[in-house]
């Protein structure tokens, strides 16, 4: 098991680590697991607690359970098959003792752009920042957002997410939401993030990346996030030196993080995460 308490916090703009005198409780085991993966070159998995400061709601808890795994030389479509197998095993096991919602053996799949277009009649990749902001104002009083990634997130959460009640894989996220995933050029020539999210019961359950292995690009993204943090008046995060140095030996891999509490919510039909 990788340490939950490390010297570095998450660099993500909208993730806040719980800070202790001795270090940071990890918002996900991602950084530590990638260091281990770079060292051993082996596929790994882990079930552990993750901590996110200030996240409290019917679908959020400061401490929650995350199942995360990385597969060396793996593609995202292979990872989808992992997930399908895992979910059907969990449904089978849970069904012995509980009433469990049925989940299709094979998940539906749709690109982010296709789903976005269906609801908003606009391309999330090619449209300008101003077009997206105008859309946000029209649709849901979402005028409080300024960053492109945030506007897109809010629009997606308002209209698309609640519709994704059946097991669905959403692929090819906007490039500005790549986080630690690689980017690629899609069939229409737009740069997209090479990642997918798994939805069930109108909730995001898991998040998968074709993992970025380029140290320079990672450093650039870290610095970009710190710049945004400064602009927002948030504390900057020290670049994770261990992760940056691990990137040089990180093998090509795909990784996925699954929120266990939310999966149980969706399968057991609970509406409050504290009940799982």
């Amino acid at each position: 098991m990788t340490p939950l308490l490390r010297d570095y916090g998450s660099n993500e703009v909208h993730l806040d680590s719980l800070k202790l005198d001795q270090g940071y409780l990890q918002t996900s085991p991602e950084y530590a697991m990638k260091c281990l993966l770079a060292e051993t070159g082996q596929s790994i998995y882990q079930l552990c607690s993750a901590f996110r400061a200030g996240e409290v709601g019917s679908r959020h808890r400061v401490e929650f359970q995350m199942l995360e795994w990385y597969r060396v030389d793996y593609s995202l479509s292979e990872l989808v098959r992992d997930l399908e197998t895992l979910i059907s095993e969990i449904v089978y096991t849970l069904a012995k003792d509980f009433t469990v919602s049925a989940v299709d053996r094979h998940f539906m799949s749709a690109s982010y752009a296709a789903l976005f277009r269906e609801h908003y009649d606009m391309c999330p990749h090619a449209s300008s920042d101003d077009q997206l902001k105008a859309l946000a104002c029209d649709f849901a009083h979402l005028d409080a957002f300024s960053r492109r990634a945030d506007v897109l997130d809010a629009l997606f959460a308002e209209a698309v997410e609640p519709q994704l009640t059946k097991a669905t894989i959403v692929t090819d996220f906007p490039a500005c939401q790549a986080a630690l995933a690689e980017t690629r050029i899609d069939e229409e020539g737009n740069e997209v993030a090479h990642r997918f999210e798994f939805y069930l019961g109108g909730m995001e359950i898991a998040n998968a990346y074709q993992e970025l292995t380029d140290a320079d690009e990672l450093r650039r993204r870290f610095e970009e996030n710190n710049k945004l943090r400064r602009e927002m008046g948030k504390e900057e995060v020290t670049n994770d030196a261990e992760l940056l140095s691990a990137m040089t030996t990180l093998p090509g891999c795909a990784g996925i993080a699954l929120g266990v509490d939310r999966l149980l919510m969706a399968l057991l039909g609970e509406t409050d995460i504290t009940l799982t």
Partner: protein, 190 residues
């Protein structure tokens, strides 16, 4: 007045929005993965009774509203204002205008106790008790013996409210009515 941040929003909290006092009905924390958190909030405008849906960035705040509910006895109207008296022993009297009493004007019975909502010490709405007993002042003549059958007719009550009552109810009788639905409950024996 203090201001409240989105993480302090809870149902029943009174806040100011667009110049009107509101009561928070529902507050949902939404955070897309690594995206910016926001709150989907339902607020009831206490002046109009309308429910608004608004989205706030998490961490935004709203000013609190100085809103208080009092039990007050309805006294009389002078045609322009409706006068109420506190029942807490202070006998303090307050005048509510047309807009404040509009929604319950047909239930205003003298000496009956109402909940009066004050914003900055001025009445903005009046809520009747869930059930009131009122005299029938106008209705078609009752039908003898027809106490079991369905059938109903309109009856005007002493406060002006018109409700459907069973056919056997006569002028001068007192009926109990649910003010939330305007439905007849039963006849009250005097």
């Amino acid at each position: 007045m203090a201001s409240y941040s989105t993480n302090e929003f809870k149902s029943g909290l009174k806040v100011m929005l667009e110049g009107d006092p509101c009561s928070i009905v529902e507050n949902e924390f939404v955070k897309p993965g690594k995206g910016q958190a926001f709150n989907r909030v339902k607020l009831k405008n206490l002046k109009t009774g309308r429910v608004w849906e608004r989205t706030f960035k998490s961490g935004e705040s709203l000013e609190g509203a100085d809103v208080m509910d009092y039990d007050m006895e309805y006294l009389y109207t002078d045609g322009e204002y409706w006068h109420f008296m506190k029942t807490d022993g202070s006998y303090e009297q307050l005048a509510a205008d047309q807009a404040a009493v509009e929604d319950c004007i047909n239930w205003l019975k003298e000496t009956e106790k109402f909940t009066v909502t004050l914003w900055n010490d001025v009445p903005i709405s009046v809520t009747p008790p869930n059930f009131v007993e009122l005299e029938v002042v106008e209705t078609d003549p009752g039908l003898k013996g027809d106490t079991a059958q369905g059938g109903s007719k309109p009856a005007t009550l002493s406060t002006g409210a018109v409700v459907k009552v069973p056919l056997f109810i006569n002028i001068g009788e007192v009926v109990r009515v649910d003010t939330r639905t305007s439905e007849y409950q039963n006849r009250v024996k005097q």
